[in-house]
């Protein structure tokens, strides 16, 4: 593990540890209370997993997995359960991991419901990609929310990257179009597009998003397009519906999990990854510009359980 990774791991752990009653404490609680694996133990475990927002379905899958594995490995002692859960979660996350495309120009379209931290995440991603030697351009296509462009401008200034912006109320498609031309002309490595937060059940807004995606697809066909959905770690079961609807509208292929520095554990990420078969790409653990890092399944699950 290199230095950068370590500090991130520490930060992530710090974020996840702040909760006194975190997942692992609770799990250890029932483990010590029960000693033997039986139905009561599994019931209580189920309760803990559900309170981490993993959802009924994923929880049942985990419980099934535990039952199978304990039978297979002839386990009786509850102490071994923690490793089994970790194993299950890491596998589930790893299965869907994919490396970034680096051999051509790249677009990252950032989408999500209101208030999940899209603009902030873009600032941090831009900074990160710039630090690793890329030429980055940001498109301010959230032309709806009051002062969203100003907020993004501030982040771009901090990250030291160019921004293509128009005024509030203008057509987001047009901003994206302009940004594509700029990305081509200035030979940018990566174009990151901000979009307005929208609730996934608003048909017209989702249509607008499909249109933005189509513009990228058509006008920038030489580039590889990534669409990342930003999910707030405090989100409950609605996150699954969000992910499905956004996938339908603009074919998301990655997740950004934000606000992991609170007490929420981001359990909702597991059913989403499971359901949509897409990887988590970044996790956000604070408000500083370097508080967003590449996702690593092992680190993430370890941080939950450490």
């Amino acid at each position: 593990m290199n230095k950068e990774n370590k500090s991130f791991f520490a930060k992530l752990k710090e974020g996840l540890i702040k909760t006194k009653k975190n997942l692992t404490d609770q799990i250890e609680g029932v483990i010590f209370q029960h000693k033997k694996i039986n139905d009561n133990f599994l019931d209580e475990l189920e309760e803990i997993l559900i309170t981490s927002d993993m959802g009924v379905e994923t929880t049942m899958d985990i419980i099934e997995y535990i039952k199978e594995e304990t039978k297979k490995r002839k386990l009786e002692d509850t102490l071994e359960i923690k490793e089994i859960i970790k194993e299950y979660l890491i596998n589930a996350l790893k299965e869907n991991e994919r490396p970034d495309v680096t051999d051509k120009q790249r677009v990252i379209l950032i989408v999500g419901v209101n208030g999940v931290g899209k603009t902030t995440s873009i600032g941090k991603i831009a900074y990160r990609l710039k630090q690793s030697g890329n030429k980055v351009i940001v498109a301010a296509a959230d032309t709806f929310r009051a002062a969203a462009v100003d907020q993004l401008k501030e982040w771009c200034y901090r990250a030291g990257v160019d921004i293509i912006a128009s005024e509030q109320g203008s057509d987001p498609g047009a901003v994206v179009f302009d940004a594509i031309q700029a990305a081509k002309a200035r030979k940018a490595d990566i174009l990151i597009c901000d979009t307005a937060g929208r609730l996934h059940n608003k048909k017209n807004l989702m249509k607008e998003l499909s249109k933005i995606f189509k513009i990228l697809d058509r006008e920038f066909s030489e580039a590889h397009i990534d669409v990342y959905l930003v999910i707030d770690a405090t989100t409950g079961q609605n996150g699954i519906v969000q992910a499905k609807m956004f996938k339908e509208a603009c074919n998301i292929n990655g997740l950004i999990l934000t606000k992991l520095d609170g007490t929420a554990k981001g359990g909702i990420a597991f059913p989403i990854v499971n359901e949509l078969k897409i990887p988590i790409k970044y996790v956000g653990v604070g408000e500083g510009i370097d508080d967003l890092q590449d996702f690593d399944a092992q680190d993430f699950v370890n941080a939950i359980f450490e």
């Binding site: 709806f144 609730l199 909702i268």
Partner: protein, 450 residues
Amino acid sequence: MFENLSDKLQNALKKLRGKGKLTEKDIDLAMKEIKMSLLEADVNYKVVKDFIKTVKERSLGTEVMESLTPGQQVVKIVHEELTEIMGQGESRLKFNSNGITYFMMCGLQGAGKTTACGKLAKKLKKEGRRPLLAACDVYRPAAIKQLMVVGESVGVPVFQMGDKISPVKIAKEAMNHAMKQGNDVVIIDTAGRLHIDDDLMDELVEIKETLKPHEILLLLDAMTGQDAVKVAETFNSYLDITGVILTKVDGDARGGAALSIRRVVDKPIKFLSVGEKMDQLETFHPDRMASRILGMGDVLSIIEKAQDAFDEKQALELQKKLKTQDFNLDDFLSQLQQMKNMGPLDEILEMVPGLGGKKKLKGLKIDEKELVYTEAIIQSMTKKERMNPSIINGSRRKRIAAGSGTSVQRVNSLLKQYEEMKKMMKKFQAMGQGKKKGGFGGMGGFKMPF
């Protein structure tokens, strides 16, 4: 919100409804389904457990078992307990009877504080007060700018001192400013913060001590999961909040947070923030919400919305027409246009008893944009056709389609919608007559202009 939860609960209860006799097993089965649907709706685990326990105990009591319609009794119990969980009655804002009133808004990042500040300001202004918004979010880039834009759009002044001054100081200055300018309510927008960030939470406590706000409102995203309760508990323990505003309620989250908050922190939900427009802030009525969840309809809310949006005279006229069954396409069009004033139509339809959640209104699904076509189509008809739609035959349909620049299919579907609506109105009429002695004066007094 709640739509899916309500579907699931209704399904679980439907199985009980028809039964003449209930066994403990029937109830256990239903309770298990209810438990799962509540959990999937993000209702706090502990709250679910208590809820199920109470409902089950009461359902097994003699009052249910000896009743002729035990299933109905269980539904009644679930309704009562849901209402109980969410708290009784609406909770009004407290104002300072002598001097300036202070409202402080707080919450996690991205909960929707700034937007809600604007909505609340607009509401207060509409009530004849002179609100002032104070920009105390000095951390998030462009937060002050956002509040200023929001303030301008609702025509309420914003007090700000830039982002280099401490929020406590800004709050203090805002007091002086309000006094000088003659504002009677000050709404303090604070920065989003994590409930476990001690420093920032202490800052809120300091603002609280400076202003002694009459309301401390926690903004909570309706999509929040199991963590909602922890957030509310922590904010409450620091600030002793006076209420909650639930935001992003126009999403399709099942709203479990709403069900948990009252029970866990014993603070009322005061408002629902339901959209991006500045007038979309609704008072929260727990009992009505419980009815909506159980698919029992929320007639009171429609009435209020209708009263807000409709022209009384027109409504009376329409009522007359309804009675004589003389409802033509002209009326249909004017109804559609007025309904639009009430807000998103599917939202309204959801509140209608017997219609909510059932999705049998497909023929009546009205896209706001469709109204433009509808208008064009109806205006392309002759007066005679509008008065008596039954004469619109194939060739007339073709002409109307060409005249309105639409298609025959569209004309067809419009006529079908019209028929559906006519049917629905008959239903309302019938309900009105049946409920004349009811609490809201029957549907006759309910100036529903469909």
